[in-house]
């Protein structure tokens, strides 16, 4: 009896142990072996890749190193950044202007590096604004936003800023179809099917300068354009866009836009569109949109409003557009390095369809259509299909390529990256992500020549991955080594904002062009002071222009009197340094704005409207030298109508008999 009791309790203990042993393994055990060694970049050593990661609702673009995950810089693009004076300095304010005035925030979803011959060339990175439709170009010499162009007839620029293989065009597609700007917008929302239109913009990029222009817009049925990728190699000249809501619902889309078994991938023959454009088939439409360019010599943004755009009606003009049925609300629309395969990822589909460009061309030539959708021919699904990847996972979103015949697809619902063979349509490997991956990135993974050492997943949910920070948690990126047959998780790191699409490029491609200083002799800013001798204070009515210089470790002038209430004071700061990594900062007490950070050789302006009589300190905000703390000064603000003369000085203390005499400082 006693023995059998003992026997029973033994079974009980074993059973408890066994069940706890069966619980899913903690995330900590996902990293194994030599992972740490693979991700470790020793202090003082460089990373292998730059990673340009969209900041999502932060509106900015962040730059990380791979494989370390170290954050190098957050580039302000669509949102103001008081830290860098972006959107606060007089020079940067024009960059955030739109047809509707100053926009201090947006939502940057996708980044795309410029390409030449289908390979990343390291010159620019583009970003899209998802709220107020815009495309930005960031210069990779300076890591600064160089141009922002607004898109008329559009709302929610999501399928952007994807590019053609020689950066001929950057595209932008409307996520929300709306009545075009040139039509009456005051219509019932329920008249969606009648009045709402989709547009896709082709923005040309000038080869040398990168300057952007809207070459033409395609007018399309009112659906939601989601993501896109250009054809390359054999499919160069074509562009592919996924779209959902072919039901044309205007309310409760989560149900009403998920009714049809298939939505579409739109294939655009942009070479054909160019022909129509040349033949004068485009219609010039009166619209209003902003284009803002940064002048690197004048260190100033120039804002202009443009009033015309050329529209090609793709539902009337033949042979520009074709629709390919794609299962269940397609999201990602990705083209493999050969340009032959187009991968559509239906968010709600249980398979991944892969289309063949060759078969698509044959189907179009044979007019193998299944009718038309609002005037656009619909190619038969089977006629364009290379094949389907069966049961790959749940909720496929995006696909990148390794250039070795494999595709890597992210699965939001099943929270994993799945590697599969494109030709054979077979799953090769799968790796969990923590958690709910959105986009993913292989360096050059959407180009002709991927550099497939890592795949990085960008996750929406981090829950127990990091130390908790209250209800609001960081999003994350996870790096997998894909140099072997199996994906191996080697590192993860929290990101700024919410990362969506990201791109990466070999470090040497970009670092060799990195600018160190702006040459002061090339500075053409209208308020530059090229030396302390040129510093001065000038009154023009109620505007007081302070031509101020900064050099370690003083401002010139640093004592200013004669400012009166009602004045607008413009501090035009020129950093006289000509050495690398010696920025100066500038702030004034109670400024109601932000600081300035001024790079060597640059001029930036802070506008200040004092509200109270008194003495206002100014100081350098960027620790510039051993005597940084001494880099300060004072501005005296007198009542309106005061007869205190406008004076300025440097290096004279109050016991100096000439302290109050206006004199140019030496």
């Amino acid at each position: 009896m006693k023995n059998s009791f003992l026997y029973l309790s033994c079974i009980l203990v074993f059973g408890v142990l066994a069940t706890t042993g069966c619980k899913p393994k903690g995330t900590g055990s996902a990293v194994a072996g030599d992972a740490a060694q693979k991700a470790f970049v020793p202090p003082g050593k460089y990373d292998e890749y730059y990673n340009f990661v969209s900041g999502g609702f932060s509106g900015q673009l962040s730059v990380y190193g791979l494989p370390s995950g170290r954050l190098f810089r957050v580039i302000p693009v669509f949102s103001v950044d008081p830290e860098k004076g972006w959107g606060y300095s007089e020079e940067s304010k024009p960059m955030l202007m739109t047809s509707g005035g100053f926009e201090p925030w947006d939502d940057l979803h996708h980044t795309e590096l410029s390409q030449t011959n289908g390979e990343i060339d390291g010159r620019w990175v583009f970003g899209n604004a998802n709220n107020t439709p815009r495309v930005a170009r960031i210069d990779l010499k300076t890591f600064r936003t160089a141009e922002i162009i607004e898109l008329p007839n559009s709302a929610g620029n999501h399928s952007s800023p994807f590019i053609t293989e020689n950066t001929e065009y950057v595209v932008a597609g409307t996520r929300f179809s709306v009545p075009p700007d040139f039509a009456n917008g005051d219509v019932p929302i329920s008249s969606y099917k009648e009045n709402f239109k989709g547009t896709i913009s082709f923005i040309s990029v000038e080869k040398e300068t990168g300057h952007m222009n809207i070459a033409f817009q395609l007018l399309l049925p009112g659906v939601n354009f989601d993501l896109s990728h250009a054809g390359k190699g054999k499919s160069h000249g074509w562009f592919f866009f996924s779209c959902y809501n072919s039901e044309q619902a205007n309310s409760l889309l989560e149900v009403n836009a998920s009714q049809r078994d298939k939505d579409f991938i739109l294939a655009v023959n942009w070479k054909k569109a160019e022909e129509y454009l040349k033949a004068g088939k485009g219609e010039k439409k009166s619209v209003k949109y902003a284009r803002n360019r940064w002048d690197e010599k004048a260190h100033t943004g120039v804002h202009e409003i443009l009033n015309e755009v050329t529209v090609l009606d793709a539902t009337v003009l033949q042979d520009i557009c074709y629709l390919i049925p794609c299962p269940k609300s397609p999201h990602g629309c990705d083209v493999d390095p050969t340009g032959e395969y187009i991968v559509g990822s239906g968010k709600l589909a249980a398979l991944i369809p892969v289309f063949s460009f060759t078969k698509l061309q044959k189907a179009i030539a044979a007019k193998d259509f299944d009718g038309a959708y609002e005037g656009i021919p619909v190619v038969k699904y089977e006629s364009a299909l290379h094949g389907e990847v069966k049961k790959p996972g749940l909720g496929p979103l995006h696909t990148e390529f390794d250039g070795k015949g494999n595709a890597y697809t992210s699965f939001f619902v099943s929270s994993e990256i799945v590697k599969w063979n494109i030709e054979k349509l077979e799953v090769v490997d799968r790796a969990p992500t923590y958690y709910s991956i959105g986009h993913l990135c292989i360096p050059g993974g959407d180009s002709k020549k991927p550099s497939a050492k890592y795949v990085i997943g960008y996750n929406k949910i981090t829950k127990d991955r990091y130390l908790p920070t209250g209800p609001e948690l960081a999003q994350s990126a996870q790096i997998y080594d894909i140099s072997g047959d199996k994906m191996q998780l080697i590192n993860d790191f929290p990101t700024i904002g919410e990362p969506h699409y990201a791109q990466a490029a070999p470090a040497e491609l970009i670092m060799k062009n990195s600018l160190k200083i702006y040459k002061i002799e090339e500075n053409t800013h209208p308020y530059v002071s090229k030396g302390e001798k040129e510093s001065k204070v000038v009154r023009e009515g109620n505007k007081v222009h302070v031509y101020m210089t900064a050099v370690r470790s003083h401002f010139a002038p640093d004592n200013i009197e004669g400012v009166k209430l009602g004045d607008e004071v413009y501090f035009h700061l020129t950093n006289l340094e000509q050495d690398w990594d010696v920025p100066h900062g500038f702030a004034v007490k109670g400024g109601n704005t932000a600081e300035l950070l001024i790079m060597p050789g640059e001029t930036q302006t802070l506008k200040w409207v004092p509200k109270k009589v008194g003495i206002y300190p100014i100081y350098c905000t960027d620790f510039c030298s051993a005597l940084h703390q001494e880099m300060q000064g004072y501005v005296r603000v007198s009542p309106a109508g005061s007869n205190v003369p406008l004076t300025f000085s440097l290096g004279k203390n109050s016991d100096d008999p000439k302290a109050n005499s206006p004199e140019t400082p030496k």
Binding site: V551, S553, Q578, D579, W580, S625, A626, L627, E630
Partner: protein, 195 residues
């Protein structure tokens, strides 16, 4: 006693002259400065007629310790040095051409004297800049002077200074060695004859 130069010595005189001519344009001396904040290093080149390298940045840094700014116009040497060096070069060729031992010896003596004087002058300037500091300087370390080494390396606060000849300086050195060797060959030949 033969008054003419032997063939090798004559060639050496000519080579010395030819080596001296490019020194008019080549950097003669190089001072490197290394500090934690300057992993890429700063350097200054001294030419016969000018200064090169990161002079502006070095001037900017030197103001902390109260050192005067370096300006080419402050040195009379830069106006005469190119002529002196060029002159010595031409003179070397002339000496080789005239082919007289006593001229050769005088030339060698003059050139070596010039070299010694130049180094003394260089030291004098280094001493002057390193010691005559602005008493209102931001950083004053009691007893500290900032004279760079004449040749070799030396720690100056956070900077390590390295001072060595540059291409032109090496040309001058080779010329001096060749000329001296010629004097020695002349001397040995004389002794042999008189024995």
């Amino acid at each position: 006693m033969k008054t003419n130069l032997s063939r090798p010595v004559r060639i050496m005189a000519a080579i010395s002259g030819l080596l001296l001519i490019p020194t008019v344009f080549l950097p003669l001396w190089r001072i490197d400065l290394m500090a934690p904040q300057y992993p890429e290093g700063l350097y200054m080149l001294i030419y016969a007629s000018k200064l090169g390298g990161n002079v502006e940045i070095i001037n900017g840094l030197n103001h902390y310790i109260g050192m005067r700014e370096l300006h080419v116009d402050d040195f009379a040497e830069f106006k005469v040095l190119p002529y002196i060096l060029g002159g010595f070069g031409l003179l070397g060729l002339v000496v080789a051409g005239i082919n007289k031992k006593f001229l050769y010896n005088i030339y060698t003596f003059l050139f070596l004297a010039f070299c010694v004087l130049a180094m003394v002058d260089f030291y004098r300037w280094e001493y002057d800049y390193g010691h005559n500091l602005n008493p209102n300087a931001a950083i004053i370390v009691p007893g500290m002077a900032y004279q760079p080494p004449l040749i070799g390396s030396k720690q100056l606060l956070n900077f390590t200074a390295y001072s060595f000849p540059s291409v032109g300086g090496y040309f001058l050195t080779v010329a001096a060695v060749l000329l001296l060797a010629g004097v020695w060959i002349n001397y040995r030949k004389n002794n042999k004859l008189s024995v």
